[in-house]
Amino acid sequence: MVTTLDQVFREEWGRVLATLIGFLGDFDLAEEAAQEAFAIAAERWPRDGIPSNPRAWLMTTARNQATDRIRRNRVLATKFGLLVADNRAEVPMKTTTFPDERLELIFTCCHPALAVEAQVALTLRTLGGLTTDEIARAFLVSERTMAQRLVRAKGKIKAARIPFRVPPAHLLRERLDAVLAVVYLIFNEGYGGRDELAAEAIWLGRALAELLPDDPEVRGLLAMMLLHDSRREARFSDGELVLLGDQDRSQWNTEQIADGRAELDRALALGGRGPYVLQAAIASLHAAVPCDWAQIAALYGELTRLTASPVVELNRAIAVAETDGPEAGLRIVDGLGLDDFRYLHSTRAELLKRLGRTDEARAAYRRARELTDDGAERRFLERRLTELAATTGSG
């Protein structure tokens, strides 16, 4: 067997931690116990070999660590004449079967009573098993800030008693949407080039699909992430942004596209027609040659009706421009009130350029550049401006 320690840790961390939290009723105690168990494993397994049932080994070791700690605290408390009220850990935990409580865990981490940034951090820490330092680096904040964010969130879960459970039916849809939004947010953070976050979001998406196999939106989100991510290599060439039409298709990850389409098919078979399923369907069409722009425009139209989002309308305009010409696309763009949105201006610029309205195109590219600080996107706009100058012969 070629399973590495890292792989086992990666797969088991969330499950072990979730079960421990369910059992102990305390995030901090569970996290410390899990950390100790994984540290002991890291020391012993390379020497003695990976046990036949790594999960049971980790679970039992962590539980023993927690029980020891509770006992020590109790001795200490008795010395000071204090009573220890919480005796949940006295209940023996079954050692043969461990309930999978990752769903309870993710719903707790993504509870709307926590700030979204805390939801993201907690999800990555507890289910994803990322260290505080890794999360801090991914979100460009100091480790200290991230550690405080996690401590505050765990403190609130305890103090306000945010329940550790899968929400009841009447709350499920709304709460699940919050979970999906967190995963999508992590993916989007990764889309700008921080690959490890995109991979993390896909990993979380797969775990969710395993836990909630019959929810079309869960599958739709996973499909959409797989399909977008399949073009990751082709989106940049020597650190420069490459648009869909100019991408080297041999760099697309065909296996991942197939994987994403299979997820999309499952979502559609489940009757899915929600925002993530629609976006996955659009991403699937984008990955096809030739691209069916009429169908894409129709799907964006459906998505606009669901979300009422002007950003979706902007995307529809791009598809409409491909089928009905740049003039038709421009009419939609000019009806949108998104003056501070850089992609509105870069889209306008492309359409104006195609219509030969060079001066207006130049002004629109400049406006987009003003609103862009990201390196690769800004350089892309610079190149477009240079190209415009070359075609018209003016500086």
């Binding site: 509870h111 009573a113 103090a159 306000a160 008693r161 945010i162 329940p163 929400p167 709350l171």
Partner: protein, 115 residues
């Protein structure tokens, strides 16, 4: 678990005053319903923040000023105590408070043992 439920009126009093009589009656009925919900200990009905007096002590000297500690709009408008299993149960009760749907809000504050 005990929660202190703080009611902020925001623009709720104005909005409710403008409602047809039937809906105004509903508002009263809803408050009464909350007070009779198991687990709820109603607070004393609170007077308007205009009639509040704020007291500070600086260097041993008592300073008394007119009005609430925060602005009129931000002032607490009422409270009740709720015994509930968890935050989700408290959120459900909070959502039934009329102020929450007429431009005000309910803040759920868990009680804490400090000593």
């Amino acid at each position: 678990m005990k929660y202190i439920m703080l009611i902020y009126q925001g623009t709720a009093l104005e909005q409710q005053a403008a409602l047809p009589e039937e809906e105004q009656k509903q508002v009263y009925a809803d408050y009464q319903g909350i007070n009779q919900t198991p687990g709820v200990t109603p607070g004393l009905p609170m007077g308007l923040p205009q009639n509040a007096t704020t007291v500070r002590v600086e260097g041993g000297k008592t300073l008394t000023t007119d009005g609430p500690f925060v602005g009129m709009k931000e002032a607490v408008g009422g409270l009740f105590i709720l015994e509930a299993d968890d935050l989700d149960a408290a959120i459900e009760i909070a959502a039934r408070v009329p102020a929450a749907r007429y431009g005000g809000a309910v803040e759920i504050r868990p009680s804490e043992v400090y000593w």
